[in-house]
């Protein structure tokens, strides 16, 4: 056990993966001598050499496409996309090649790529540095999409993703890179298994990635008013661990789903539909969503209005509980 930042926990997971399997190669922009712009790969090139930790030319489609070729050759490429908004030039290779080659070839060609994507806002950044594009990939058959919220999960899940024979989009909550937590290298769980981050009985607050700590804060605040919130950290967006989700919703009968990504067609829409389908007779209220607005990611000075925060989460909690809230007003 050691206390690590989420960034360091990822780095230690990558180090273990490189040490355990000589077919693992890291590819990305500035991941070598610089150690990545978030320092996740700090020291790895010095330790494993330029053959295993490769600085790449600045072309995301090129990086992903080259990783596909390496996978054809039996390698396990781990690609770092520098920022969420930079993944779009590589979108075609991801959805048209990485996702589909295994199916296209009747299982003959495996694509055990891990594509790491720092995502989400809250860091006061400029355009293209704060986006949450996870739904595009969760919508694409053939990809697995996961995201971590704690240093422990970051360490465990990056190793799981690399070991997985399917391509994995690995979303890293960039505003939580410097969160510290205990990391046990021996800790493990099945890839895709959701986590009940806090137990509760009144409302299920369903979230993932950067909003998990916010949801936990909301649960603490709600408890002061006597409301018991269960926080479920999905960890995996494709597939979704509905076993854990259903168990929670059946217990509470009320669910609020929250993510930074835009609401329309987002993970929340899928989750609300699936929960309604699976838990209809256990629901006491319609599922509520607290998400980013359907707008381009705003300038930094406005992002606090865009990002779901504790108050907006609790407002939705009030709605599913039928308490007075921003929509019904105090006179309702």
């Amino acid at each position: 056990m050691s206390e690590l930042t989420l960034s360091k926990a990822l780095g230690s997971g990558l180090r273990r993966a490189l040490a355990d399997d000589d077919r693992v190669v890291l590819m990305g922009e500035d991941i070598g001598t610089l150690g990545g712009v978030f320092r996740v790969t700090d020291g790895l090139q010095a330790e494993f050499g330029t053959d295993r930790v490769m600085d790449m030319p600045l072309a995301e489609s090129g990086i992903i496409g080259m990783a596909v070729g390496l996978a054809f050759r039996g390698f396990r490429p781990v690609v770092e996309i520098q920022f969420d908004g930079f993944i779009y030039p590589g979108f075609d290779q991801i959805v048209a090649q990485v996702a589909k080659l295994h199916a296209r070839t009747g299982g003959k060609v495996r694509m055990p790529l891990t594509i790491r994507v720092p995502y989400g806002g809250g860091i006061g950044a400029v355009e293209h540095h704060s986006e949450s594009p996870e739904a595009y990939f969760a919508h694409t058959a053939g990809l697995r999409v996961v995201t971590c919220a704690t240093p422990q999960d970051a360490h465990t899940m990056i190793r799981q993703a690399i070991a997985c024979d399917d391509p994995v989009l690995f979303f890293e909550p960039k505003r939580r890179y410097w969160t510290k937590g205990e990391v046990d290298e021996g800790y493990d769980f099945p890839l895709g298994k959701a986590r009940v981050a806090r137990e509760g009985t009144d409302v299920t607050l369903l979230t993932y990635g950067p909003l998990v700590p916010t949801a936990l804060d909301a649960a603490v605040a709600a408890s002061d008013e006597g409301i018991s919130i269960e926080v479920v950290d999905l960890r995996s967006l494709s597939p979704v661990d509905y076993e854990t989700v259903e168990a929670s919703v059946r217990k509470t009968g009320r669910v609020v789903i929250t993510h930074e990504a835009a609401e329309f067609g987002g993970m929340g829409a899928e989750l609300a539909a699936a929960i309604t389908d699976r838990c209809f007779f256990h629901l006491e209220a319609a599922p509520e969503r607290v998400a980013g607005f359907d707008i381009p990611y705003p300038p930094a000075r406005l992002e606090e209005h865009f990002l779901p925060d504790l108050d907006r989460m609790l407002d939705a909690v009030d709605r599913v509980l039928g308490r007075t809230n921003s929509l019904t007003g105090w006179t309702a």
Partner: protein, 360 residues
């Protein structure tokens, strides 16, 4: 010939047998094909006849409703056979969808050429059984795969090389340009083999390139050559040179095989809307098979033997194609993931239950 539609050429394509079947001496390239006797040239000719015959049969099958679509390679036989025959079995090919001649040379089963076009499978064969990936339909995407594979060969310490096949249209794609950047930076043992067949569906090559395509590669730090793509001997020579360069640590090469797509883009296309008949007529005079017939002066019995073999291959192709059976409905869900995916497993079981409802 229309002079406005095609790119002006500033590089003379390498040519060892001219359209009239006359051998052209070339100090540099002759030694590279010194071992290709008339007997071996006849074998290449036979390959091309068979490939053309299968291609013709496939078009007929499409017209008869047995294939959904077919992308004919008519006119490009020399570019494909000449280059593919210059490779070793352990080299790896990444192609587009028109390289049926290359696939034939990689010993892809004939029936496997038809599976995707008949709609019984997403692709035709196990890439690792013939060291050729199944076709990439997204234009130019495969050039990056070839580059990555080549880098992997170096990492593995083997002297296999990879070859990326693509067309003139693909050279406008970002992926192809990125592939050249990456290949140069990593000194990858990859051969970029561009079949400039003058057309990207209806768009003339002049829209993709205002200078010869081969001119671009040196800007990326990649040596390039233009070759008469309808001259199987010249194509073999330049491909051998590029492959040897890659194999011996010399890095990537770029070949522009100048040829002509004599047929439609696919069987769904109508080239009469955009092809200048005079231009096509001129290219018909540069036919890759006709020039070898003139050069080799094959006897009638030899010609008949080859034609009989081609007919036999076409017959086998047709029979196998029409014998392909539709896959089971639930195979829809197979191989989407290599490891179990709970969401898909649920969809599969629900659809299975739905289908069972029709049986009871």
């Amino acid at each position: 010939m229309s002079t406005t539609l095609t790119a002006r050429t500033t590089l003379d394509p390498v040519q060892l047998i001219d359209p009239h079947g006359v051998r052209q001496g070339d100090e540099h390239y002759d030694p590279l094909v010194a071992d290709i006797t008339d007997a071996r040239l006849t074998a290449l000719y036979e390959d091309m006849v068979i490939v053309r015959r299968i291609d013709t049969e496939a078009t007929a099958l499409q017209r008869q409703g047995e294939l959904g679509l077919w992308p004919p390679l008519l006119g490009q036989e020399a570019a494909q056979v000449g280059s593919a025959r210059a490779l070793r079995a352990d080299d790896f090919v990444f192609s587009s969808y028109r390289e049926n001649g290359v696939a034939y040379c990689r010993v892809v089963e004939l029936v496997d050429l038809a599976r995707a076009w008949r709609g019984t499978a997403a692709s035709g064969w196990d890439p690792f059984s013939v060291n050729m990936a199944t076709p990439a339909v997204i234009i130019g995407a495969q050039t990056l795969h070839a580059t990555g594979y080549a880098v992997g060969c170096v990492k593995d310490g083997v002297d296999s090389v990879s070859v990326a096949y693509f067309g003139d249209g693909a050279t406008s794609q970002g992926d192809v340009n990125e592939a050249m950047v990456f290949a140069a930076s990593f000194h990858a043992p990859v051969v970029f083999f561009c079949q400039n067949n003058q057309w990207a569906i209806s768009e003339p090559v002049g829209l993709q390139a205002v200078r010869p395509i081969a001119d671009r590669a040196p800007g990326f730090g990649i040596p390039s050559v233009r070759v008469d793509g309808n001259d199987v001997l010249a194509v073999t020579a330049v491909t051998r040179e590029a492959v040897e360069r890659a194999r011996s640590g010399g890095g990537p090469s770029f070949i522009e095989a100048v040829t002509y797509r004599m047929g439609p883009h696919t069987t769904s296309d109508d080239p009469t809307r955009y092809v200048d008949p005079l231009q096509r007529e001129e290219w018909a005079g540069r036919d890759p098979l006709a020039r070898l017939e003139a050069y080799l002066g094959l006897s009638e019995s030899e010609q008949q033997r080859i034609a009989a073999r081609a007919d036999e291959a076409a017959h086998k192709f047709r029979t196998a194609c029409t014998s392909l059976v539709d896959p089971e409905p639930l195979s829809l869900f197979d191989h989407v993931y290599a490891t179990p995916h709970s969401g898909l497993a649920r969809q599969r079981s629900r659809y299975a239950a739905y289908l069972e409802g029709f049986e009871s």
